[in-house]
Subunit: 349 residues, 2 copies
Amino acid sequence: MGEFDLIRQHFWRVVAARADGSGVLLGNGDDCALLAPAPGTVLAVSSDMLVAGRHFLPDVDPEALGHKALAVNLSDLAAMGARPLAFTLALALPAPDAAWLHALARGLLALADVHGCALVGGDTTAGPLTLCLTVFGEVPGGQASRRDAARVGDDVWVSGTLGDACVGLDIALGRRAPGAWPDPALVTHVVQRLHRPTPRVALGLALRGLIHAAADVSDGLLADLGHILAASGVAARLDVEALLASQAVHAALRALPLPDVLSCVLAGGDDYELVFTAAPGQRAAILRAAEQAATPVTRIGTIVAGPPAAHPLADGAARVQLCDARGHPYPLPPGVALRGFDHFATMAT
Amino acid sequence: MGEFDLIRQHFWRVVAARADGSGVLLGNGDDCALLAPAPGTVLAVSSDMLVAGRHFLPDVDPEALGHKALAVNLSDLAAMGARPLAFTLALALPAPDAAWLHALARGLLALADVHGCALVGGDTTAGPLTLCLTVFGEVPGGQASRRDAARVGDDVWVSGTLGDACVGLDIALGRRAPGAWPDPALVTHVVQRLHRPTPRVALGLALRGLIHAAADVSDGLLADLGHILAASGVAARLDVEALLASQAVHAALRALPLPDVLSCVLAGGDDYELVFTAAPGQRAAILRAAEQAATPVTRIGTIVAGPPAAHPLADGAARVQLCDARGHPYPLPPGVALRGFDHFATMAT
């Protein structure tokens, strides 16, 4: 079976423009797809590459892989407050395997359908198993939540729970025995969080106009908040005691020793939650938006003055001050690993 | 050195929106880039993945690889008549190698600068050497040259020369001895055509409004023209004798036996020329546009009635009738291989 047959059989969807002539004007099957953002919006674009043995295990369930590959890209759109419009998929496969591809497409397209995100093109080739997705979303000009927009005095918020996927990865890799949890549902929860993350698209849309800066937590809270702080030229104070006691830490993590909890909550990657900053006057509106998006949010700290803005890619984790409930430096117990996930510095598997 | 340091050191460019607020509003360094197509235009999008050992040899000159990776994507924009705006780069590398990356970036960004195409984001990870680029171009709504727009009576045209890269690949892989060519410049020409293809962007822009359907010749003339024919529900008659005698066949190919020339010209991939159809009334205008774009074009046949439109990805090579100068079927000599390049059916290396 050739390349075009594979695409046609597993990934083909008919697309149509909206009544106002915007949206997806031309999808799969030509040299290019044609996209027209809705009037008043601009196009948010993000690319992510997932490599077997690095971002997922080679024997991964292909349906879960399809879900996750799109989810991590939609998460970038969510962080900008963009509404998903379309995506392209480039796929390298060791050999065409119809059943495997069908399951991959099922996971991918099921999540795409939830978000009305059309598959509009891509590429298929032989090679070591690799997926590269590029997603496109629409966001009203000026309403995108950029990393460089945090202001002194802002609250720092996170969505959902932190550290779950980090614990899930340890379990999936056999580094941590599930025996620590008397309730198997907690084990299932963290493993699901690793394999089937929920992109916070609805929350990103509900927060439009209410927040200043945002990023998704893919490399760990300190690393991703750090990028906001470096780009914005500010620092942050996090109340670690309140964070640990909050709903932002799932019950599954409370079964672990404190250093492990801190490592996972502060530096665990792959959660795909949102970390964002907003003026204190927006607290009530943010809680309403979170309720509307059915996604819990937790206030975890404050933006304070910091060194001048650095390169947007500079490591800003050192700009995060960890404090206790009285505002004093929080003493990290021995054994806490705070290094964020880095695809070159750290091997996931 | 971590992922962000690599990006910052080798791939960072400052971008700015145009005076009218369109173009690239936000580049590298955030969760998403923000693009706003110029008023009256839509965004053309194409993704290509290049895998070591498949699309290029692992010991390839990284500067040439950078050039080619962007060139093959710009070629898709050229086929739609789109003006390059921006691109993303996702890169998997076995290990960070500063000198190699610097050369890759040099090749990539030199071509990007020629076309005013900004690098606006992407991803970097460890893994088997793979590049995935997604390019964005602007094309006035309704002026994009789609594959399904060929009409009975149209002329069929190609740009530049066909089959060169196919011969170049044979030489690069040691399948064909350079001794067949008394003039070493001819060998250099075909190898350069393989490694440093020229995307026909200027021609694509000059042809806007003059042509009906277009595609780039990446998989071979019969395969790529075949996709136009299948999508448009037509067939084509090619005058093979005139084609072989024309400037569309480079002097380097004339040193080869006829079956090899036919295989390369009709089915050789990687040329990144344009094949397009246009009404006969546009001949003079097309020749002027080609002169303006400093890219030769050759009329090679005619669109005739054919079976109803099939799936845009259907194999349409059988819709191409090869004729001699009198319009009779052209008798293919033994030894001609007409199968187009397929990334699963055929191994490039």
